[in-house]
Amino acid sequence: MDKKILQAAGLTVSFRSKKGTVHKAVINISLSLAPGEKLALVGGSGSGKTTLLRALVGVVKPEEGNVALFGKDLSILAASDLAKVRQRCGYVQQDPYGAIPPGLSALEAVCEPAVIAGIERNKEKIRDRAEALLAELGLRGDRILRSRAVSLSGGQRQRVQIARALMLSPDILLCDEPTSMQDASTRGEVIDVLEKYAASGTAMIFVTHDLVLAGHAAERIMVMKEGRLCEEGSSEQILNFPEDPYTVKLISSIPSFEKLAR
């Protein structure tokens, strides 16, 4: 095996409804990621972005094709080995409401991955790291750190979730719309933190509509439509010179000041 962190070949994922109809959410997608490489997945609702992301960490099983993480084929891994592979992956879910254990405070939720993984036993060290991560993401002060998920806003929960995903310094971070609930002022902090980790060598895949995030933090963009790959290229190329008509429509639909600015 070479040094690829992630390799997926010919992935097809289908869902079967109760009536027996088959919906192919992801159709024949292949991608690979080297250490430190950053990829953005863009596309409309229902284009299969989230399903693809879930398939890449083995949460949904592909009907065809296979995924290898750190050179290990997920389909033949024993559960205990899969758990080890997953410890090296950070995953930020799209819906931060269901992603944080309701009984834990924000700080406890961020500490939890380290406690479960058992890599660090010193509770104070774990706490310090969690606090530092939360602070980088703009969450400071006892009141917020002690809050449970229910009393945090969507944007705050999303940042708690990002801190949780970064807690074990993953080799790869998969983010599903990580800035979707942020106000303009906190969005910058989130992008800064993601960029910092990307620069330090963490490979990343973002599902996003945020073209600033896609264009700046990712080197490559894959555009998906109805489960298929529609266009792929460098961020520069996709954002400035899209070729596929769907990509053109998608990019031009995104609100931007560029048209207004002098």
Partner: protein
């Protein structure tokens, strides 16, 4: 058509008083498309609730909201009922989830027509079909249940519902959240088109400054219950005055700044 004068709204929760809206003065011209832009907690939704007389009872309100010369804040309940739907109508935040799941789309619209326009039976059903067509939906949608519609279709249906009694002023509170960017652009285009075809004035409430800048002819930026700045999108983007607006613009140009610096 709408003149807000020195409006302050204070919520009193267990002895703690919070001014959600703090001394806002704002005029909305007939036929205008105004974007009210602010982050969470800036007072946008409170302002909308005040326009519809929907603030909780023990809220302290001072100032005036003159709609066609009459102060909304001093209207009786029955006057308010005549104002809602027929003069000022709301597409609520999360409108896609505001439909009753067990009622067909037509019943939602017919209900409003029954109560507020006195239209019944076949008249109401025909009107519902016409309204759905006005927002770019197939009239057959009226026979469907909410869950049978896509997010974009539901948003269009919610706009049709808000237009049921031909209001003069439409308030749209975050009308494109949870929609993808292509559908979002279509909804904004629909609102722009309806403004002209139905002679509507529209107030768009959003946290998304670039989005509002795309479609509105005037933007009002709110911060902590106050009006930070207002002007045309062109003015605000190219020559922002208030520090908060400057921050917002800078955040949006983040990519460019980073590249420069």
């Amino acid at each position: 058509m709408l003149d807000i004068r020195d409006l302050t709204v204070r919520y009193n929760s267990m002895g703690r008083v919070t001014a959600a809206v703090n001394g806002i003065s704002l005029s909305i011209e007939k036929g205008s498309f105004t974007g009210i832009v602010g982050e969470s907690g800036s007072g946008k939704s409170t302002l909308m609730a005040a326009l519809l007389g929907l603030l909780p009872q023990r809220t302290e309100i001072t100032g005036e909201i003159l709609y066609k010369g009459t102060d909304i804040l001093r209207m009786s309940d029955s006057e308010m009922r005549d104002l809602r739907w027929k003069e000022i109508s709301l597409v609520p935040q999360g409108a896609q989830n505001s439909f009753t799941p067990v009622m067909k789309i037509k019943r939602h619209i017919e209900e409003v027509l029954n109560v507020h326009s006195g239209k019944f039976g076949e008249d109401a059903e025909k009107e519902a079909a016409r309204l759905l067509e006005d927002v770019g939906l197939d009239a057959g949608i009226k026979e469907r249940y909410p869950h049978e519609l896509s997010g974009g279709q539901k948003q269009r249906a919610a706009i049709a519902l808000a237009l049921a009694c031909s209001p003069a002023l439409l308030l749209a509170d975050e009308p494109t959240t949870a929609l993808d960017v292509i559908i979002q652009a279509e909804i904004l285009e629909l609102l722009s088109g309806l403004r002209k075809s139905k002679d509507l004035s529209i107030i768009l409430v959003t946290h998304d400054l670039p989005l509002a800048a795309m479609v509105c002819d005037r933007l009002v930026v709110m911060k902590d219950g106050r009006m930070a700045e207002s002007g045309t999108p062109h003015q605000l983007v190219n020559d922002p005055q208030h520090p908060h607006t400057k921050d917002l613009i800078r955040e949006m140009f983040w990519q460019r700044n980073k590249k420069d610096g």
